[in-house]
């Protein structure tokens, strides 16, 4: 069956968040994890770290403002610990 557009968007966003935090904030996850297992805390912490770095409201959640920053063109060097 085709995936509902909103589910598709949500999956894309989850992927975006995980990739972003893995690339720039040293998030370590196994690829199956998403938000539903033992790595949730780590992901939340990394998300908070990212939000603090960019001066966003620190919610630990991938809100609209956070996703907007993650979609911006940027330098490939990590924001923490090269």
């Amino acid at each position: 069956l085709p995936v509902a557009p909103e589910t598709e968007d949500e999956d894309k966003n989850i992927q975006l968040v995980e990739n972003y935090l893995r690339n720039f904030y040293k998030l370590e996850t196994d690829k199956q994890s998403h938000f539903k297992n033992k790595n949730v805390n780590s992901l939340t912490e990394k998300l908070e770290e990212m939000q603090a770095f960019f001066g966003l409201k620190v919610t630990g959640k991938p809100d609209v403002d956070t996703l907007e920053v993650m979609k911006k063109p940027r330098c490939g060097v990590p924001d923490i610990g090269q």
Partner: protein, 368 residues
């Protein structure tokens, strides 16, 4: 600013660079100029010098690469990752890679090579990403007109922490990023736009919805790449759904976030005499359709319906707006009041009783 973990740095001050290949997006002379200008950004504020070599190994090797280019940091095609650089060191250390999948330019379209190169060189010299949104070393791309570019103070502080001061007798200084809740904050211009408030300061503006607590600081160039920094006066004509921005003797017209004309117009077309070189502040009275322009200690009144200055102006500000002296920085109308900004203070003026009814800090709208 943030230094790279472990504080890596070049031990020599005289460094070499090499442009290994070119992008087909630009002609090679423009690439050379952009790269040379990017090096100058850092050599102007530090004791470092950079000499170009044309073959062999340079300290900083600069190249355009595509996708996985075997350095364990693959590029991702158009947008997203634009470039990366390696911290000072031997071999790949100090090298700069640009993603060839981007559209590289010398202007505002695509990605400006000079701006990205200058950022990457910061990494090649030992700087990490800064949390200062105005810094060159901030991680995300934002466009600044290259001819207007000045290295921000945050980056100057960073590079000088690593390598010491410039050899120049006069130490260069750079622009600082305004702090929203700084009690000494002043504004260049303030205007309403479709229910929001826009506060202009240098190359930045804040966007604020009166009913929301959040306030957003942006580069002017992010929304309007062709607008200059340092807007001096602004007002909204609600009837025409247009915002007018003034700098020196020119003005630009916006409709929402679009520029109405590609080129600025002259303030003399509005009826100002030639001895007026700039406008300090402006606001439009929604009730009468009259726009008030403040210049020094005087003001002009413009009739938006007739598209002409009213007769009998300029008049002294103090005569109509008791309590408001000269040197108004910014003004706007909200509800029944007019708000005048003078230095760090804001005067709430009630035109019905013709007096100031409240004095506040200039940034009172920011819920500090």
């Amino acid at each position: 600013y943030v230094l790279t973990d472990g504080n890596p740095k070049w031990e020599r001050k005289d460094l070499t660079y090499r442009i290994v290949n070119y992008t087909p997006d630009m002609n090679s002379a423009d690439v050379d100029k952009a790269i040379q200008k990017a090096f100058k950004v850092w050599s102007d504020v530090s004791p470092l010098t950079f000499k170009r070599i044309y073959d062999g190994n340079a300290d900083i090797m600069m190249s355009f690469e595509t996708g996985d280019h075997r350095d364990n940091s693959p590029f991702d095609g158009p947008d997203g990752l634009l470039a990366h650089a390696f911290q000072p060191g031997n071999g790949i250390g100090g090298d700069v890679h640009f993603d060839e999948a981007e559209s590289w330019t010398k202007g505002s379209n695509g990605y400006n090579l000079f701006l990205v190169a200058a950022h990457e060189l910061g990494h090649a010299l030992g700087l990490s990403h800064s949390t200062d949104p105005g810094a060159l070393m901030y991680p995300t791309y934002s466009y600044t007109e290259p001819n207007e570019f000045r290295l921000p103070q945050d980056d100057i502080n960073g590079i000088q922490t690593v390598y010491g001061h410039s050899d120049n007798p006069v130490q260069p200084t750079g622009p600082t990023t305004p702090v929203t809740c700084d009690p000494k904050l002043t504004f260049d211009a303030v205007a309403t736009m479709r229910g929001e408030l826009l506060f202009f300061k240098g190359r930045y503006f804040w966007r604020k919805h009166p009913q929301m607590t959040e306030v957003e600081l942006n580069f002017i160039s992010l929304f309007w790449p062709s607008l200059p920094s340092g807007i001096q006066a602004a007002y909204e004509n609600v009837e025409r759904d247009q915002v007018f921005l003034f700098k020196e003797n020119k003005y630009w017209v916006l409709s929402g976030y679009e520029l109405v004309y590609n080129h600025p117009k002259s303030i003399y077309d509005l009826g100002f005499p030639k001895n007026v070189k700039r406008i300090n502040a402006a606001f439009n009275d929604k009730n009468t359709g009259k726009t008030y322009f403040f210049v020094g200690g005087k003001y002009w009144r413009y009739d938006e319906n007739r598209q002409a200055m009213d007769q009998g102006y300029p008049k002294k500000i103090i005569n109509e707006f008791r309590g408001i002296s000269k040197n108004v920085d910014a003004a706007f109308q909200n509800g029944r009041y007019i708000y005048f900004f003078i230095g760090t203070r804001q005067f709430q003026f009630d035109p019905n009783v013709k007096r100031v009814v409240s004095v506040m800090k200039s940034n009172s709208w920011f819920n500090c």
